[in-house]
Every structure is written in structure tokens, then in C-alpha cells.
Amino acid sequence: MADATPLSTPEDVQNGRSLWGSLALTLPLFLWSLLIFSRSFTKGAMAERAAVLLTIAFLAGLIFWMMRTGETYAPRRIFFVTLGVLFPVGFITELIAQRGSMSIPLASIVAGDTPFCHLVIPVAAIPAALTGTVFFPGSILPTPDNPNSIASMTALWLGGSILLGRGWCSWGCFFGGLDEGCASLARKPRRRNLDRRWTLFPWAVLIAAVVLTTLTFEPFYCVWLCPFKAVTEFSPPDSVKTALQFVVFTGLFLALVVVLPYLTKKRTQCAFFCPMGPIQALSNKLNVFEVVVDPVACVSCARCVRDCPTLAIAEGPDKRPQITMRCSRCGACVESCTKGAARWHIKGTPFSASPRTARLLFLCVAWIFAVMFGGSVIANGLSKIFHLVV
């Protein structure tokens, strides 16, 4: 950098590959998805098989798109929004089939059959470490009635976090796709100049939820604040308390997942509220992949600051962008930078190392996880739709 020559050009960062090169890079991930889905294909009924085939084709198509064009953000967004939409489709259909409604009967809560989701992990883990008790009405190990146990979900999340850091929030979280989808609906943001102070609010939600969980002996975030109860399950609103909870989580869902993303074109639930975000941001410190800005190539146009969907890029005192630890590896900044200054990088390698190689390695890891976890969710949602239609 001593001679002030940019380390990479836009072509280095964003250019795609030849047709055969792209096919060759898609093949291993395609074979991986065949391996993952082989069991459900051989044992499933017609609708499951059709859903699996469609999922494999869909994922292979997106991977090929990424390899061929060099784009990351657009194909990832299609995958992520599909995941976000099909998760509740599959989950709610199962609930309706089993219970006849989205509400959790008291008997299921008492029996510890409440499915555990990753958003509860930090909120439950810290009180559990302090008190030795998990304040959640679920089971530690999977049971026939509740495969989404505390241990299995925690192990899955831990693996995803080690592999992807906060990339989990853009490649694995089946809730994040919903607010990204709503953010994508608007052509232009109607509200700009958001108060960045609110990006610290998830920490407050995390701290308050941990303290109040310990104080009240119930999963406070789950019971009171989680907006995604609106698209999963909830206690029936048959008392003042549960009716109030219904109003709170429905209001939060509409505001944070639907209205604000549409108005701002930002993932407002992820950026301003989710208590998982701070923990994922910390996991970025352990993860080897990162997005960096080449200070020589950067012309301080602030395009990346404007386009980051989670407000993870701040403008430094010298007007240069600073990628914070909240980066969720979505690739939006890399694609919006016309100078090729924002680039993928692997920690511990020279700053001048090839950004294409770093991106390729990240994509391999991200897709291995996304196919395994998100692919199953997509296939499940599709098979439920096929069952309903056929």
C-alpha cells in the first residue's frame, strides 16, 4: 500500500467465471445437496420427492448464478427470502395438522414440547449459566413430539456461528428472510437518515431479556417480545396477559418485519431489535471470513454505507467507511462499490490476497451450511404446499 495503488479493481472483486469453471464449482455443492436430500427422496411420498427435486434445482441454480456472474447479494437474497417465507409455511401447516391451531396448548407447555428456536439461545443460555436452570418449556434432547430440542438447535446454531459468524443472520436464520423480503418490495427507501443510535438497541433487548428471564423464571423475550410468534406459535389470547402479549408481538411483527423494512429498505428487525444479533456480532470475531475496505481504492462515496441492509457500515471521522462487527456477510456492499474497494478477505492472510479466492471459500462454507439447514426448510415448505395443492 506504500505506493498507494489499489489492491484490487472492480473486475478482481466482482467478475464471474467461465461457463465450465462455474459448472465445475457448482458440481461439488450440487453433489452435497444430493447427499443431504437422498434420504428424504428415497423415503418420501410423491409430494416430498417433487419438493426435494425442486429444492435441489433451485439451490444449484443459485450457486451457479453466483459462480458465473460474481454476484453474491441478489442470489443470496432470493435464497434467504424463500427460506424466510417457506419456514412458516411448513411450520404452521404442521401445527395446524397436529393441533388444529397455531396456539400452544397448556398441556404441551407443561410436557416440555415447545419447539426451541435459535433466537432464545442467548436469552436462555446466560440465565442457565448463572442459575443452572434453563427457563424454557422445551426438552433438552429431541423427542418424537418435539424434534426441535434445546440441545439440537443449540448445536446447529453453534456450528453455523463458527462457520459463518454473523453470516448466520444472512444465510441461516429462517426469520431474517421475512424482513429482507419486505425491504426488497420497495424500489426506493421512503425514510432515510435513520438514527444509528438504535443499532445498539439489540444489546439492550438482550440485557433486559436476560435479566428479566432470571427475575421472572420465564423466557421473557419469547413470552413478550419475539415478533416471529406471529408466524409460528403463541399462547392462546384467552386472558388479559396473553391478549396483551398477542397485541405486543403482532405489533412488533408488523412494525419491524413489514412496515419499517418497506419504508427504509433496511432489515430493521435484524438491525434494531433481534437479541441474537449482538451474540452473532461477537461470533464474527472468531470467524475467519470478513469484508474489508481497501483504503486506497475507496473514494468515500458512502454508497456502501447507504446500501448496507443492516446498517453495519459506519462512516468514520475521515468519511471513510468502517465495517463494524455487525456485518452479516450478505455481500451488498461488495456489489454496490463501483471501485472494488469493498472486498472479501480471510483473516490472517495478506491484505492483498485475492478477494475472489476469499469469496469462493466463503461461498463454499456458506452453501454447505445453507443447503444442509435452509435447504431442508425450503423442501419441507414446498412439500407442504404440494400436499395442499395436490
Partner: protein, 217 residues
Amino acid sequence: MVLEGFALGLASGPACVVTCTPVLGPWLVAERGGAAAPWRPLAEFLIGRLIAYGLFAVAAWWLARALSEETIFRAWIFGLANTALGVVLIPYGLRRTPDRAAGHCGHHRDGRLGARLAQTIPIRMPLLLGFFLGLNLCPPFLLATTAAAQTESLGGSLLFFFLFFLGTSLWLLPFPLFGALGRVPSLAVIARFSAAIVGLYYAYLGILTLGGILSHG
């Protein structure tokens, strides 16, 4: 009797720490714990608690039976104290953090109604927090109230509550250390937001209790 009050306070200390941390902790971080005199906010908080305890000591002596057996009376105090705590904490938590680096020194007056309301409140914030939290009827406190009600004189009741207060306060002595965290500006913002969320929770508890009393006559 004297030892009993102190011992009960010492034994109840962890419960007090759990109750006070969500309210006092964020405030101390947000305000840097009174950077110049770190013990002052804790002292004010404890005075607030002591005033609340003193009121209870008098009430326990005057209204011994009513206080220990009349649920509605307890519910009124609980509902009002929690609502007041929420009303104090929510505007405080949502108010913009004073930009010390820019030299505003926290005296810049925001014209919005919410901000104006918030700026009138925190003059003796720890005192208010201590007072309203002191009125919270946690199980050890109810036990202390019942024990104090059995004393024969007002002086005995006051002494019992004072020693109960001393016993519990020992557990709160490390709290000024929270203030050091507030030197990181983003932690101060997070602490304010946390205070607002905790305030919402207390307001909900209070309103639910008061609503229950009014709806059941």
C-alpha cells in the same frame, strides 16, 4: 429482635440484588455512576429505599393486621409503585444521551414534549428509583413487614426495618463499579435503552395490578 432484622436483611440480600440490578445497573452505567463522586448515586438510591422502608415501618406498626392480611392494600401499593417506576424509567431510557464529547454537558434542552418531561424528572433519579423499588413487596420484605408488625412499639418497628435495610444494603455496595462501564459511550446508550425496556415491564406489571383491582372492585 434486633439481630433478627439484620440477619433477615443479610439473607434477603441476593433477592435485593436481583431486584435492584435491572433498575439501578442501567442507570449507573448510563450516567457513568456519577463520575466525580461514584458513591453518591448509590447513597441517594439507598436513602430512597430507606424512606420507603421507614414508611413501611410506620405502616406495619399502625396497620399491622391490615397490611399483613388485607391483600387489596398490598396490591394498591405494588401497582402504584411499579407504575411510577415505569413512568420514571421509560422517558429516561428513550431520551437522547447527552453528547459529552460535543461539549453539551447534558444541558442542551430538547424541545419535544417527551424529552422535556424526561428532563424534569432525573434531578434526583436514584432517590426516586430507590423509593419506588423500596415499595416493592418482595417475599423477604413481606416477611420483614410481618415480623415488624409483631413489635410492640413504633420505635421497635423502625429499628427492625432499619436493620433489615442495613443487612440488604451490604449486598449493594459493589454497585458503583457499574459506573466505570459507562465510560464507553455505546454502553451508556445501551444502558439507557435497557432502562426503558425494564421500565416498560414494570409499567405493565403496575397497570395490570391496578387494572385487576379496579375490575374486581
